[in-house]
């Protein structure tokens, strides 16, 4: 393994480097997405409370305030999400899978930002990208032996997974096309964090507290499982 010194720029790409090709393209896509997204983010954020026109999002009937930029960004980020999600399935190395998942979850957060759901996007970043996934990577790293371990699922599992995922896809499509979407003319205002917090502690207090209790139970259970036998 250590003898395989790679001469950079010599034109002789190893198999490893070829496998990296799609990965590099995806990284490039994500980075372009980030660069493109940054200014629109500041456009949407730079407005004052008094001038909420930019914080409002375009719905059917009215041209989106961002002009052509917004649909382009949406499709770029959405494509990144799809490519990264495919990467999670196709990658053979478990840390690579985790990195693809990182990109997928991150671009979902960007979709939330694009849809003016700032709070949801931030929570997506903090909870999934910064919390859950990093713990996953941590666990993988502690148990895995080398970066070159390949993960090859048996054929039977692949077929089973394909059947389940296909069924889920069909079901989701059916729901998506049969659902009645609320349509609003013009622009609807985005929800501020203060508003969200107020509703969580008044209208939706019970579900909020139930979720809190659930998390508490999970934490106590995890602590109990992790405790050393005495």
């Amino acid at each position: 393994m250590f003898a395989r010194a790679k001469a950079r720029g010599s034109g002789g790409l190893s198999a490893q480097a070829k496998a990296c090709g799609s990965f590099r393209i995806a990284i490039l896509l994500v980075l372009t997405g980030m660069v493109l997204l940054a200014p629109t983010g500041s456009v949407a954020w730079a407005t004052d409370d008094a001038v909420t026109a930019e914080q409002q999002i375009g719905v059917t009937g009215a041209a989106p305030p961002g002009g052509l930029l917004e649909p382009i960004l949406f499709y770029a980020v959405a494509m990144t999400t799809v490519i990264a999600a495919l990467g999670v399935c196709i990658a053979k190395n478990i840390v690579r899978m985790a990195v693809w998942l990182f990109i997928a979850l991150g671009s979902v957060a960007m979709l939330y930002f694009l849809l003016a759901a700032d709070f949801l996007g931030a929570i997506q970043l903090i909870v999934y990208v910064g919390g859950t996934l990093i713990l996953l990577i941590f666990g993988v790293m502690l148990t895995s032996k080398s970066p070159w371990v390949r993960f090859e699922p048996p054929k039977l599992e692949l077929i089973g997974a394909a059947v389940v995922c296909g069924a889920l896809l069909v079901a989701l499509c059916v729901v998506l096309y049969s659902a009645v979407w609320p349509e609003t003319e013009g622009v609807v205002p985005g929800v501020s964090v203060a508003d969200l917090g107020r509703r969580l502690l008044t209208t939706y207090l019970v579900p909020f507290e139930v979720a809190g209790v659930l998390l508490m139970i999970v934490m106590v259970g995890a602590a109990h499982l992790a405790r050393q036998e005495k």
Binding site: M1, F2, A3, R4, A5, K6, R8, Q16, A17, C20, F23, R24, I27, L31, M34, A38, P39, G41, S42, V43, W45, A46, T47, D48, Q55, N93, V95, R96, V99, F102, G106, A109, D118, F119, G121, A122, I123, L125, I126, V129, G130, G131, I134, L135, I137, F138, M141, L142, S146, P147, S192, V193, A194
Partner: protein, 403 residues
């Protein structure tokens, strides 16, 4: 064109470019000052060969890093190896976007904010960005395919995850006191006064939370005494052992950028940001260009002070052992911050204008409880010392003076 440049968007874009430029320059010079301060602490000169008193040292170092061969060893996981410094660099610089640099500026008839972005989610944006930062270190350590780099990455993950909790709780204390997530509102609310004299800075209301925030900020930016991910004596180099050239430079620059961001947030959250009490130019009402410059200088001064403090600490304190590091977070800082959080909830009930005596009393109570708990709990020394029976000096308690 002039219309665009004086609008909020134009000012934001210009400010973003200026901030990135200034940051890159000051990050380079942070390294120079770090070495100068190291020299000062250790009673020697520090770098003084390049240019007048060594002020061109950083430029020479940067040139060296640029011109060095960018080696990618054959045994690394190449894409992740390239991705890691990119992530850490991006994250270290994105945080600057939300810092309110200098209040508001009157440009023609427009009143624009001297701030790149004003997200409604303010502090959550910072937390979200900061939580991505750990990926750079972890992936760098992992993709190097080197036992010691890998240990560095694992240490970084455990450390940053542990210290994110007290950091978040300290931020929650500030959020509860201020009732907003917006950094500019947090600054603005701190420009009021108690009795017309004492500025309502959060550091006066929550001195303990300020201290804990300072400690966790040090830990989050992997600075001494929390720099275990890059402990040279134990790990050859750390998570960046296999890196060379500009990729190594990016890790190095990101560390200093992280320090500047952390200092900026300490200044904004606890020390009133650009506010300097009793001077008319640094009040929120002053919106002329010279007032904005004065405010920026005040914030820069506060940031410089904290960077100096961090460097001073680095060359003064020894490194913690890893179990001590995690114990400090889980058994020390998290209980303290939970107590401070409860205190902040009570202070919301009292109201901010009346809460000064209650806040000080509450902080004193929390401090007394912490000291009593630390003194009474006979925590055994664990780790390497416990396995050396010959030199073990009997039951040793931490928290009380060793005799």
């Amino acid at each position: 064109m002039v219309e665009f440049l004086t609008s909020q968007l134009g000012v934001s874009i210009i400010l973003a470019l200026v901030v990135i430029g200034v940051m890159l320059g000051s990050v380079a010079y942070c390294i120079f000052f770090e070495r100068k301060i190291a020299g000062w602490v250790q009673d020697r000169f520090g770098p003084n060969r390049v240019g007048y008193r060594g002020i061109l040292q950083s430029i020479a170092d940067g040139g060296k890093l640029l011109l060095k061969e960018d080696v990618i060893p054959g045994h690394v996981d190449t894409p992740l190896f390239i991705l890691a410094p990119a992530i850490i660099f991006l994250v270290a610089f994105v945080g600057f976007a939300a810092i309110p640099w200098g209040g508001q500026l009157q440009l023609g008839e427009n009143l624009v904010d001297i701030q790149v972005a004003k997200p409604d989610i303010g502090l959550l944006y910072i937390l979200g960005v900061a939580s991505i930062g750990v990926y750079g270190v972890v992936l760098g350590g992992w993709s190097s395919n080197n036992k010691y780099s890998f240990y560095g990455g694992i240490r970084a993950a455990a450390q940053m995850l542990s210290y994110e909790i007290p950091l978040g709780l300290c931020i929650l204390v500030v959020v509860l006191t201020m009732g907003t997530l917006r950094l500019e509102s947090i600054t603005l609310q701190q420009t009021e006064y108690w009795g017309g004299i004492l500025p309502m800075w959060n550091v006066i209301l929550h001195p303990l939370a300020f201290l804990v925030f300072l400690i966790t900020a040090l830990a989050e930016s992997n600075r001494m005494p929390f720099d275990l991910p890059e402990a040279e004596q134990e790990l050859v180099g750390g998570y960046h052992t296999e890196y060379s050239g500009l990729k190594f430079g990016m890790f190095l620059l990101a560390e200093y950028a992280h320090m500047i961001t952390a200092s900026g947030f300490i200044a904004v959250l606890f020390l009133g940001g650009w506010h300097f009490p009793w001077i008319a130019w640094t009040q929120p009402e002053a919106t002329a260009w010279y007032a904005v410059i004065a405010k920026m200088l005040v914030l820069a001064g506060k940031i410089t002070f904290f960077i100096f403090l961090m460097m001073w600490l680095r060359w003064t304190l020894p490194r913690l052992r890893f179990d001590q590091l995690l114990r400090l977070a889980w058994k020390g800082l998290i209980p303290i911050t939970l107590g401070l959080f409860t205190l902040a909830v009570i202070l919301v009930y009292v109201g901010r204008q009346q809460s000064l005596p209650w806040a000080l009393l509450g902080n004193a109570v929390v401090l007394a409880i912490v000291l009593a708990a630390a003194g009474l709990s006979q925590v055994e020394v664990t780790g390497r010392q416990a396995n050396l029976p010959s030199i073990r000096p009997g039951p040793v308690s931490t928290g009380t003076a060793r005799t």
